[in-house]
C-alpha cells in the first residue's frame, strides 16, 4: 500500500500483517510515515491524500470500501486513540456525552444502558467516582485522565483492531507508566489486535509482541520483539537501539540509506 499527500509518497509500498492477539509496535522517528499509515487504515487522512493499494480488514478492503460502510466499522471494530489527550476530546461536551456517543453511533442502546456502560468503562480505566465524572468537561481533567477516557471510548465496543498513535508521548513520565499498565490490562480484555505507533522503544518493549520498524516511508525490518532487540538486522534498527539510554555503543553507526519524507 502506498500513500502520498500530493508529493512524493509518504508511505511507500508497505506490507504489514496483524493477527488477532498481536500487539504490533510500529516504530520510527517523526517523518517516517507511521502516523500517516495509522490514519490511512482508519481512513482519516486529509483531502489532499492519495492512497493506492489495499488494506484488508477482516476480509474486506478498506481502501475501496464506501464511506458509509467504513463509518460503521469505526468505533466498533476499528478504533483509535491519539497522541494529545487534552485535545482529543471535544471541549464543549461532557465526557459522559462523548462516551455515550459511541454507543449511539452504533446501534440502539437506550440512554440508561449507555450511561451504565459508560460508568462501567470509566471505572475500568481507573477513574474514581465515575458517576460524578460523567458530567465533567475535558478541561477539568488532567492529561492522564483524558487519555483514560479516550481509551474507554476506543475500547467500548471491543474492537478487533485498536490503533494507538503515540498514546503516551504527551504525558508525564509517571503518568506514562500508569497508562501503559492500563493499556496492557485493557488489551487483554477488550481488543483483538493493537497497532501501537510510537517512537519510544521502551513502550514497545513493555507492550508489544511484534515490532515493525519504519524509516522514510518503508518498513525496514519486522520481527518478534525479543528477536529485534537481541539481534537487529537493519542498520536503522541498530541505530535506534543504540540511541536508547544505557545501551549506548562505542562507535557512531553510519547513516542509514534513504531519505526521510520531511526533515524536522
Amino acid at each position: 500500500m502506498t500513500a502520498s499527500y500530493g508529493g512524493p509518497p509518504v508511505v511507500q509500498s508497505v506490507s504489514l500483517r496483524l493477527e488477532h492477539g498481536d500487539v504490533l509496535g510500529l516504530v520510527g522517528e517523526s517523518g517516517s510515515g507511521k502516523t500517516t499509515l495509522g490514519r490511512c487504515v482508519l481512513g482519516l487522512l486529509p483531502e489532499n491524500a492519495r492512497v493506492e493499494g489495499e488494506i484488508v480488514f477482516e476480509g474486506r478492503d478498506l481502501v475501496a470500501m464506501p464511506a458509509a460502510e467504513k463509518r460503521s466499522l469505526l468505533g466498533a471494530q476499528l478504533s483509535a486513540v491519539f497522541q494529545n489527550p487534552m485535545s482529543s476530546l471535544d471541549p464543549v461536551f461532557t465526557i459522559g456525552d462523548q462516551i455515550v456517543e459511541v454507543f449511539h453511533a452504533h446501534g440502539d442502546t437506550s440512554r440508561a444502558q449507555a450511561r451504565a456502560a459508560a460508568i462501567r468503562l470509566l471505572s475500568e480505566v481507573g477513574i474514581p467516582a465515575p458517576e460524578t465524572r460523567l458530567k465533567a468537561y475535558p478541561h477539568e481533567l488532567s492529561g492522564g485522565m483524558n487519555q483514560r477516557v479516550a481509551l474507554a471510548i476506543a475500547l467500548a465496543l471491543n474492537p478487533s483492531l485498536l490503533i494507538a498513535d503515540e498514546p503516551t508521548s504527551a504525558l508525564d513520565v509517571t503518568v506514562q507508566a500508569q497508562i501503559l499498565r492500563l493499556l496492557r490490562s485493557l488489551i487483554d480484555e477488550h481488543a483483538g489486535g493493537v497497532l501501537l505507533i510510537t517512537h519510544d522503544l521502551g513502550v514497545v518493549a513493555q507492550l508489544c509482541n511484534r515490532v515493525a520498524v519504519m524509516y522514510a516511508g518503508e518498513i525496514v525490518e519486522e520481527a518478534p520483539v525479543r528477536q529485534l532487540f537481541a539481534a537487529p538486522t537493519h542498520d536503522y534498527t541498530k541505530q535506534l537501539l543504540a540511541s536508547l539510554p544505557g545501551r549506548a555503543r562505542r562507535q557512531r553507526p553510519a547513516r542509514a540509506a534513504g531519505r526521510p519524507a520531511a526533515e524536522v
Partner: protein, 293 residues
C-alpha cells in the same frame, strides 16, 4: 496544541523569488484594477465629458442611459456620469484624508501604548476603548452635530472613529515586536532601546496597518455616503454619491437609474478597497490560505 507530525510533503516553491511572486494573488490584482478604473473615472471623465457637473438641461431631465448620457440624467437634466465622477473624487479624498488623519494620530498612540505598557498603556487605551464603544456612524453624527457639516468637519469626524482601531493594531504590533526585541536591545551597543524597538516595530507593523487602512478606507466611503445621504455629510453644492442617492429617491419610481448608478458606483469603490485589503492580507500571511495537514 494540535499534534503536529511533520510528515506531509506538499509542493513547495523552489526559490524565494518564486514564493513572493506566487503570493501576488488575483484578489489583490482585481482590487487594484478596480481602484484604477475608479480613479480613471474620477479624474478623466470630467476632462472628456461634454457636460459640466452643474449643467442643468431641463430638456434632458430624467432621461434613461443612452449614447448621449451614458448613465442617464437626473431630475434637473444633469449628466449622471459626470456627477458620479465628481462624487468619486470626493469619496476618494474623504477616504484618504480620514485614514491619513487616523494614522497620524493613531500610530503614535499605539506605539506609545505598546512600548510603554503599564499605566501609560491604560491611560491611552481606556479612553480609546470608550470611543470604540460608540457605533461609528453615531460618533460621526455627533461630531457633525456639534461642529456642523462639510468636508472639513467630515474628515476629522470619520478620522476620530478610526483612531482607536489604528491604535489597537499598532499597539498589538508593537507588543509583538517588543517581546522579541528586548533581549536583543539589551545587548545593543549604545543605541537606546527605544530607537531599536522603533526601527523594528515600524517595518513589522506596516503590513497589518496597511491591511487595516485599506479596509477602513472602504468603510470611510460607506460612512461618507451614509452621512451625506442623511444630510450630515458634505454640504451642497459639493457633489457626493450619497447626496445623489437622497436626491434621487423621489424620482426612482420611474427612473431607477437615478439611484442605481450612484449606489453601484459606491459599491464598486468599496469592493475595490476590500479586495485590496483581502489581497494584502493573503499576501502578507499566506499561511492563512494553505491549511497545514
Amino acid at each position: 496544541m494540535t499534534a503536529t507530525t511533520v510528515e506531509r510533503v506538499g509542493a513547495r516553491p523552489a526559490t524565494r523569488i518564486q514564493r513572493v511572486r506566487s503570493r501576488l494573488n488575483p484578489t489583490l490584482a482585481v482590487g487594484l484594477g478596480l481602484l484604477a478604473v475608479v480613479i480613471v473615472i474620477a479624474f478623466v471623465v470630467p476632462l472628456l465629458s461634454p457636460y459640466e457637473t452643474d449643467e442643468i438641461r431641463a430638456g434632458d431631465a430624467l432621461s434613461a442611459p443612452s449614447s448621449e448620457h451614458w448613465l442617464g440624467a437626473d431630475n434637473l437634466g444633469r449628466d449622471i456620469l459626470v456627477r458620479v465622477a465628481d462624487g468619486y473624487r470626493i469619496s476618494l479624498s474623504v477616504a484618504v484624508g480620514s485614514v491619513a488623519l487616523a494614522l497620524l494620530v493613531g500610530l503614535p498612540l499605539g506605539l506609545i501604548a505598546g512600548y510603554a505598557g503599564g499605566w501609560i498603556d491604560n491611560l491611552v487605551m481606556r479612553p480609546l476603548d470608550v470611543l470604540m464603544a460608540f457605533p461609528a456612524i453615531l460618533l460621526a453624527i455627533t461630531v457633525m452635530a456639534i461642529f456642523g457639516t462639510g468636508v472639513a468637519v467630515l474628515l476629522p469626524a470619520i478620522g476620530i472613529v478610526y483612531v482607536p482601531i489604528i491604535a489597537r493594531v499598532m499597539r498589538a504590533s508593537t507588543l509583538a515586536t517588543r517581546r522579541e526585541l528586548f533581549v536583543e536591545a539589551a545587548r545593543a551597543r549604545g543605541a537606546s532601546r527605544w530607537r531599536i524597538v522603533v526601527r523594528h516595530v515600524l517595518p513589522n507593523s506596516v503590513g497589518p496597518v496597511t491591511v487595516q487602512a485599506s479596509i477602513l478606507m472602504g468603510i470611510a466611503i460607506l460612512l461618507e455616503a451614509a452621512l451625506s445621504f442623511i444630510g450630515l455629510g458634505v454640504r451642497p453644492p459639493t457633489p457626493s454619491l450619497g447626496l445623489m442617492l437622497s436626491d434621487g429617491r423621489d424620482f426612482m419610481a420611474n427612473s431607477a437609474w437615478v439611484v442605481a448608478a450612484p449606489g453601484i458606483a459606491i459599491m464598486v469603490l468599496v469592493l475595490a478597497f476590500n479586495l485590496i485589503g483581502d489581497g494584502l492580507h493573503d499576501w502578507l500571511d499566506p499561511r492563512g490560505r494553505a491549511r497545514p495537514r
